[in-house]
């Protein structure tokens, strides 16, 4: 019997497909963001506010993942931008292959922003690279302020934390300063924004963040 050393990532096939997607997005100057949160934290609401704030001529598309139903795609389609639902049929995360398939015949040269809403789950989506430029984690104040400590993988990998439902702060024991401190302990470089999608607060700061990242993606393609 022999023991053969094997240096290979378990998800190397997913990583390979994600690298392909990333190269395609870069070629077209597309900013792709992977939105991750637990169920009900407000990913879809944030996308509604985002699409509502964008001009009709913006080159934006959305992929939205769920285990079942196309409710989210229907909620988002009314803004007039291309939206496609990925129904995973039980799988608790999106993977690069699902994104690749869902892109289908969309003309990537017609896009410069692709928003991917992952399946509501703070665990599994952290493992699967989708070829995105950045992961954005959404945490609502109706959850615990210790979530960053409980789910270190996603809070370490995300570049932006959106604290949502701040309109509920008077009614819940959530400690904003503690949540920020916990997130920074996991990830000193993480950016943090406070928003309320329901009360339409802080959306402008999110849109500014988004514009900054879009500009960066466009600059990168011009400099190629």
């Amino acid at each position: 019997m022999s023991r053969v050393p094997l240096e290979r990532k378990v998800l190397s096939e997913n990583d390979r497909m994600a690298a392909d997607l990333r190269a395609r997005f870069a070629r077209h100057g597309i900013l792709c963001l992977n939105l991750i949160s637990s169920p009900g934290a407000g990913k879809t609401a944030l996308l509604e506010r985002t699409l509502g704030a964008l001009g009709r001529d913006e080159r934006v598309a959305v992929l939205t993942g769920d285990i079942q139903t196309d409710n989210d795609a229907r909620r988002l389609a009314r803004f007039g931008f291309p939206v496609r639902q990925i129904t995973t049929g039980g799988t608790c995360h999106l993977d690069a292959r699902m994104v690749d398939r869902a892109l289908g015949e969309w003309q990537l040269d017609q896009l410069d922003l692709l928003l991917v809403e992952n399946v509501g789950n703070l665990v599994c989506p952290a493992s699967y690279d989708l070829g995105e430029e950045a992961k954005v984690v959404v945490l609502s104040v109706a959850e615990g302020d210790d979530k960053p400590l409980k789910y270190p993988a996603i809070f370490s990998k995300a570049e932006l934390l959106v604290l949502n439902k701040t309109d509920l702060l008077p009614y819940v024991p959530f400690n904003l300063a503690q949540a920020r401190e916990n997130a920074r302990r996991m990830n000193p470089g993480i950016e943090i924004l406070e928003v309320s999608c329901t009360a339409e607060k802080g959306i402008d700061s999110w849109m500014r963040w988004l514009d900054g990242r879009r500009e960066k993606a466009k600059r990168a393609v011009r400099e190629r």
Binding site: M1, S2, R3, V4, P5, L6, E7, R8, K9, V10, L11, S12, E13, N14, G90, T91, C92, H93, D95, N121, V123, C124, A126, S127, L149, Y151, P152, A153, I154, S156, K157, R185, M186, P188
Partner: protein, 122 residues
């Protein structure tokens, strides 16, 4: 509900383990697989017990049976940019264990990788 979701996750990871194993075996015709070594980092979001269970389920009744999955845990390692100290994190304390600097970077614990295959070769 949560348990089911977690097990579902490890099932998809176990499928990827199996795909990786089959890809390696395809390069070694006639080799009989005995054991698969994996390293699963603390931050990988993967539960070792659920992964072992999922792997067993997938392998059962296939040509790969019997095969053992050995999972080694990967500790969470941080590196201090001030003094280059590398240390294992305990109690979520990310401050440098040497100089006390509060901002340190993660250098280990996210792995989800193969370490070895044990084979009986012809």
């Amino acid at each position: 509900m949560k348990r089911a979701a977690v097990a579902m996750h490890e099932l998809s990871i176990a499928k990827s383990v199996l795909e990786g194993v089959r890809a390696e075996l395809a390069q070694r015709p006639g080799a009989r697989l005995q054991k698969v070594g994996l390293r699963v980092g603390e931050l990988s979001g993967v539960n070792a017990d659920a992964l072992s269970f999922s792997f067993e389920v997938l392998v059962k009744g296939t040509d790969l049976e019997p095969v053992t999955l050995e999972i080694e845990s990967g500790p969470r390692l941080q590196r201090c940019p001030e003094c280059n100290n590398e240390f294992t994190v305990e109690n979520d304390d990310l401050a440098c264990s040497n100089c006390g600097a509060s901002r340190t970077e993660c250098v280990g614990g996210q792995e989800l990788e193969f370490t070895y295959l044990e084979l009986e070769e012809p």
